[in-house]
Amino acid sequence: MTGLFLLLAIVSPLSQAQSATEDESPALETPDTDSSSYRVTIAEPFVEMHTGPSAGYPIFHVVDRGDEISILRRKTNWFKVETSDGKTGWVSRDQIRQTLQPSGAPFKLVELNEADFARRKWVMGVTGGELESAPVFTIFSGYSFTENLAAEVHLGQSVGSSSSSRFIKANLVMQPLADLKYSPYMTLGIGRVEVSPSSTLIASNDEENTFAQVGIGIQRFVSRNFLLRFELNEYVIFSTSSTSDDNEDVSEWKFGFAVFY
């Protein structure tokens, strides 16, 4: 059941992010042809049409400069287009760059570059690593208030040989040098952790505690909407168990990737 909940946690920011971009787009005059497609005139000397949305699919047709095409839909970096004589195929965004922006002005597409990386709003990702020599797995979602400050929510699970724990954590992420390719960041967080001892051990009760966390990390922008991060964290668990009153110090390293919008 937790799994389903985690999945839902992934999806909800995604759908929000999508609707957010739709809201921000300025109202365009509807093209004179049917409303679901856009007609453009090819500005490049020629454009290659593939049978599918990847360079791996064969080229079956070439459209020349001056020909009109309708843009039907997009899949990653590929547009499905229809020629005036009814042929449909896929062209890459790179090949029709001039066509889409013939004035030579900076490309207005949703395409992200490194400056956008610093300005990104929504991020979500996955990390895996070790928490006190037990494997740990986290999914997270975040929102950037400014390019230097973001809030993130992490859901995690760590499975050790004698116990497994699940935790939820709210993080404040400070990224002082957001423009760098390898950008360092610091995190501060609080959360709750639930520890259940392994069922092969003598039955003992689940335990729920609050913890605080401090961490450092570095993230690297890889492609237009993809980043990698490495993080080191230090946790202090405020133990309330009957057996020990001392706080517990736990350290963690993890490596992960994230998609941003």
């Binding site: 999945l7 999508q18 365009l28 599918g52 791996g56 013939p102 797995f137 497994s164 392994s198």
Partner: protein, 217 residues
């Protein structure tokens, strides 16, 4: 003859030297007369966000999951994916299944090893996938569908026999796109996790063969 040739050269050189000037003069005249060159290419205001995109993917899948030392049982699950580029995608999966009895339990006839609750299997995974080979399948001589072979690797958790088990998943799959927004995938996945219910910590490989129906949004 020589003189004529020389004077011709001279005239040419002088003429060439003055040519740019006269051209400039002509241009400034043109600027004044405000005749602009009409661009041959029609300008369009194109906003990509108004084009339908198919970067997200939702799927239901069903098939068989074989848990090592237990038997093979139906599994049913959900997948959500996002395509980062034509080659790279991330995917989250969640599925449920249950196991029957081990051979030992069947033959021994003694007390069951696991309670009914513990026989439920539930896992979730987050995977990073790579589209390896793009291709086409020719169903008839006029019907062609695009296909993709992909590999993926992921991490997650399997809840089985009363415990959480850190899981690594490796998969290969074959996708047939019947339409731009719909595909059918056949996937073979290896769920690798440690199991300690037989005394020692053993790494188990649990194979899952599934068929999924995917919608692109």
């Amino acid at each position: 003859m020589e003189i004529r040739f020389r004077s011709f050269l001279l005239v040419t050189i002088i003429g060439l030297a003055f040519l740019p000037l006269s051209e400039l003069a002509a241009q400034s005249e043109e600027d004044n007369s405000s005749t602009l060159i009409e661009p041959q290419i029609e300008r369009v205001d194109f906003d990509e966000s108004l084009i339908d995109s198919y970067d997200f993917e939702m799927a239901i899948y069903a098939g068989y999951l074989a848990i090592e030392n237990f038997d093979t049982n139906p599994v049913i699950g959900l997948k959500i994916g996002y395509h980062i580029s034509e080659d790279l995608f991330v995917q989250g999966s969640y599925a449920r299944s249950e196991v029957g009895e081990t051979s030992f339990e069947k033959l021994g006839g003694g007390a069951p090893l696991l309670s009914d609750d513990e026989r439920d299997v539930e896992y979730y995974l987050v995977s990073l996938g790579f589209n390896l080979f793009h291709g086409e399948a020719f169903f008839t001589d006029s019907t062609t569908f695009n296909t993709v072979s992909y590999v993926s690797g992921g991490i997650g958790n399997t809840d089985f026999a009363g415990d959480d088990r850190y899981t690594i998943a490796l998969a290969v799959g074959y996708r047939t796109l019947f339409a731009d927004g719909f595909s059918v995938d056949v996937e073979m996945r290896d769920l690798i996790f440690d199991m300690d219910i037989f005394g020692s910590d053993d790494t188990t490989h649990n194979l899952e063969l599934t068929l999924s129906l995917n919608l692109f949004l």
